[in-house]
């Protein structure tokens, strides 16, 4: 019996082997045939007529329209809603739904003239009543969001009242002068939706109805959102008829989807890693779009502990960091080294030289530590693998100045707890800039009473900064304010509340079948994207 099975099995095995080899040979032949005909196909492709109505498919790592309970319903990069004030290419405030504005002499009152002839996607007319309805909604309390919390106190601090002057003028009154209020209102700070779009709790009662060049026609949460050109848009119409934005959380899958032609481009934060972007560059069918990011990455030390509170050791640490190497080695050059605490996307940002001087760093550290070596922990977010690579690069530099660090990856919430308790030596953090007004960053990190100063145990206490920020509060002239902010930035580079490493770069990949894939500060100019003709 067994012999019979053995003979039979041998026959079956040989048959299978034959079928397999024939299949493989067949595949190979097919490939060869394909290779031979590839030139012809390429020629055919070039003369194919592009169907301009075909849906463009893009993808990001998260779903860009979280829905009714999200403070904004969807990301600004979908161009579904528009703000009163939009952001220019250099971070400056530009007219959007508010076409003009005026500040009172004392800086406490702002009057905004609203654009006429604008309609929401649900047909409602955009006017002062619509804007007031949006302020009423914001007054109901903080609305969490996948992007930035919708918080009236954050975007309109000290707002005393908001009122309609007439159908196309509104007035905001503040308890003290707000000369830079426009910067706070950029994009997320003044998103406007149809007044019929909210329920009693201030949540959306359906798909978001904005005034943007695209309207949402289908939103499958965590899967995709389908956009269609809004034909009654007040400005220049979007070039693409419809765009589908998929959610593909895994970056490798996103990359493969792009290469396989399933999607035509990536967008949103971290849409491609620098390594994958470099890989994509090797393929002529794809291109990379880059823009400044609002994110800054930095190190903090426990300034409430000796010897980290010694300015000489702080300077030594800063000088020991080779920021350019971090950007080049870990991020393939996608980043901009900086020593400034302020992100480079705001027009108030000032460039300072980034100095690396290991010999000087050693001398300064020796003055503080003497011959002793300092042992401490370097906390990193374990969910971000690049932070470990970064830390492994930084650790030997610190060792050279006498600081031996143990790298400790951990969950972000645990890391925050450790920072608050002051149970650390070094930690790696990052900070986004929600609008172009820089004072929030200065106040939170550099004021003695600043919440980040306390919660990150920075131990930063410079009287000059406190005084400068107090005078900024009273300053009405934007030019004078800029001078104050310059001084504070300069102080941040010499007194080290934190150790900025680099400003991020947004990286997006796209197929050469698309044109005008122009990266912006956050996202891309979606209305300009179209099929290559």
């Amino acid at each position: 019996m067994l012999n019979m099975f053995n003979k039979k099995s041998l026959r079956i095995f040989l048959l299978l082997a034959l079928v397999l080899s024939l299949t493989l040979t067949g595949c190979q032949n097919n490939n060869e045939v394909l290779d031979e005909s590839s030139t012809e196909e390429a020629v055919n492709e070039t003369i194919q007529v592009v169907d301009e109505d075909e849906t463009i498919v893009l993808a990001g790592k998260r779903h860009l329209a979280p829905g009714e309970e999200d403070g904004y319903y969807c990301s600004s990069i979908l161009y579904v809603w528009e703000p009163l004030i939009r952001q220019g290419k250099n971070g400056e405030p530009l007219p959007s739904l508010a076409e003009d504005w005026e500040m009172s002499e004392d800086g406490k009152e702002w009057i905004f003239k609203l654009r006429e002839g604008v309609t929401f996607h649900d047909g409602q007319v955009f006017n002062a009543d619509a804007v007031i309805a949006n302020f009423d909604r914001m007054s109901l309390g903080i609305k969490p969001s996948s992007y930035y919390p919708l918080d009236i106190d954050s975007h309109y601090p000290g707002l005393v009242s908001y009122e309609k002057i007439d159908d196309y003028n509104i007035k905001l009154v503040f308890d003290e002068s707000k000369p830079t209020q426009l910067y706070r209102m950029i994009n997320w700070g003044s998103a406007i939706y149809s007044p019929e779009n909210f329920d009693e709790e201030g949540n959306f009662n359906g798909i978001a109805m904005g005034t943007g060049p695209f309207k949402i026609v289908d939103n499958q949460k965590d899967d995709y959102v389908l956009l269609e050109r809004y034909e009654d848009y007040w400005g220049e119409s979007a070039k693409a008829k419809s765009i589908k934005v998929r959610s593909i959380p895994d970056v490798d899958t996103r990359y493969s989807a792009l290469k396989a032609g399933e999607i035509h481009g990536t967008l949103d934060l971290d849409s491609l890693t620098p390594a994958l972007a470099e890989e994509l560059k090797k393929d002529d069918n794809f291109l990379i779009a880059e823009s400044k990011s609002t994110m800054i990455r930095f190190l903090v030390t426990n300034g409430e502990l000796e010897p980290f509170n010694d300015i000489r050791l702080k300077e030594a640490i800063s000088l020991a960091l080779n920021r350019q190497d971090i950007v080049d080695i870990v991020y393939f050059g996608y980043g901009s080294p900086t020593t400034n605490i302020l992100n480079y996307s705001t027009p108030f940002y000032k460039e300072y030289p980034v100095e690396e001087n290991m010999e000087r760093a050693k001398e300064l550290a020796k003055e503080v530590l003497g011959e002793e070596r300092l042992e401490t922990e370097f906390l990193i977010n374990g969910n971000d693998p690049t932070q470990k690579t970064e830390a492994e690069l930084i650790a030997p530099w610190l060792a050279e100045i006498g600081i031996d660090v143990t790298i400790q990856p951990m969950e972000y919430s645990v890391l925050r707890e450790r920072l608050k308790e002051g149970d650390f030596g070094f930690a790696r953090l990052q900070q986004g800039l929600s609008n172009g007004e820089p004072s929030t960053i200065f106040r939170r990190f550099m004021l003695t009473s600043g919440d980040h100063n306390k919660n990150y145990s920075l131990g930063y206490d410079i009287e000059e900064v406190n005084n400068l920020m107090e005078s900024a509060n009273k300053e009405l002239d934007v030019n004078n304010l800029e001078t104050i902010y310059d001084k504070v930035q300069e102080l941040s580079t010499t007194t080290y509340p934190v150790f900025p490493l680099f400003n991020d770069v947004n990286i997006m990949g796209y197929s050469n079948k698309l044109s005008n894939y122009n990266a912006e500060l956050y996202g891309l100019e979606l209305p300009e994207v179209e099929w290559t003709k």
């Binding site: 067994l2 099975f5 053995n6 099995s9 041998l10 079956i12 095995f13 979280p66 829905g67 009714e68 309970e69 999200d70 309390g141 903080i142 609305k143 969490p144 996948s146 992007y147 930035y148 919390p149 918080d151 106190d153 954050s154 949540n203 949460k221 965590d222 899967d223 995709y224 998929r246 959610s247 593909i248 959380p249 895994d250 490798d252 899958t253 493969s256 989807a257 290469k259 396989a260 032609g261 399933e262 934060l269 994110m295 977010n381 969910n383 969950e411 972000y412 919430s413 645990v414 925050r416 707890e417 953090l429 990052q430 900070q431 986004g432 929600s434 939170r444 919440d451 980040h452 919660n455």
Partner: protein, 316 residues
Amino acid sequence: MKKYIIERMKSLFIVLVGITIITFLLGLITPGDPAELSLSRGGNYSPTSEQIEQRREEMGLNKPVYIQYLDWIKGVLKGDFGESYSSNESVSEMIRRKLPITVKLALYSIGITSFLGISLGIISAIYKDTLIDGSINLMNNIMLSLPNFWLALLFILFFSEILGWLPTSGNGGWKHMLMPAFSLSLVTIATTARVMRSSMIQEFGKQYYLALKSKGISKFNLYIRNILPNSILPILTLLANFMGSILGGSAVIETIFALPGIGSYAIESIYLKDFPYLQAYVLITGFVFVLVTTLIDIVSIIIDPKIRIGADSYEN
């Protein structure tokens, strides 16, 4: 039999209550403030102390712990799992949207595992100690040693990027399910094949097998109609456990293939301390796991008279 089922249902209830308490307590003892995390989105935004305090109040986190637990339990009994700390969305709605996708993935995986695992096991047993058996064993060893996330990426590379046969990701028809289901199934195909093989080989040593074979009945009747029913029981238990492990462990595969099932958000909910979602997830997967195991026990009793005798002792 009835009493046995009632006893199992009682233990099911106790297990579920235990799961809810443990999940709730684990949420409390782990560090991190859900209110802050719900606003900070993993560190991309830093909320102010005032914003955090207002959010804590809205989320009910300032209430005593036992009140929070009782409030939650009351809601669960009415089918309301509360609102996600992260998105404010109704957790019941999230589960309603996500669960069918994970169940679909689980069914595809179970189908593939059952078909291939049992078939390979039967072939391997019939052709015991032959080249075929050896090849299947080698294949099983390879499948057992490959991590599913790595396989998933390889599948995407070959079948989507290079060959263009299957979509890389997304929720859609059967083509979208093939790679995720295979990635999840390979290890269990190997395990099922091994258990099936040894279970059948055990039957070969029994008197009834020799008697049937000597009668000269057809191979199909011998192996499929007589041996298979006697050797399938361990496989049923294995598949039931597999069903549970898919529901509870498909997070990585769902993330890689962009399938918005219940697992894909589970990992993120741990980082974000989105306890309402996490508790619902654990409760539902726990419930399904215990329920499926109980059902399999009952099916086993029906199939195998020997187990029925054990279950009947509950009647005495």
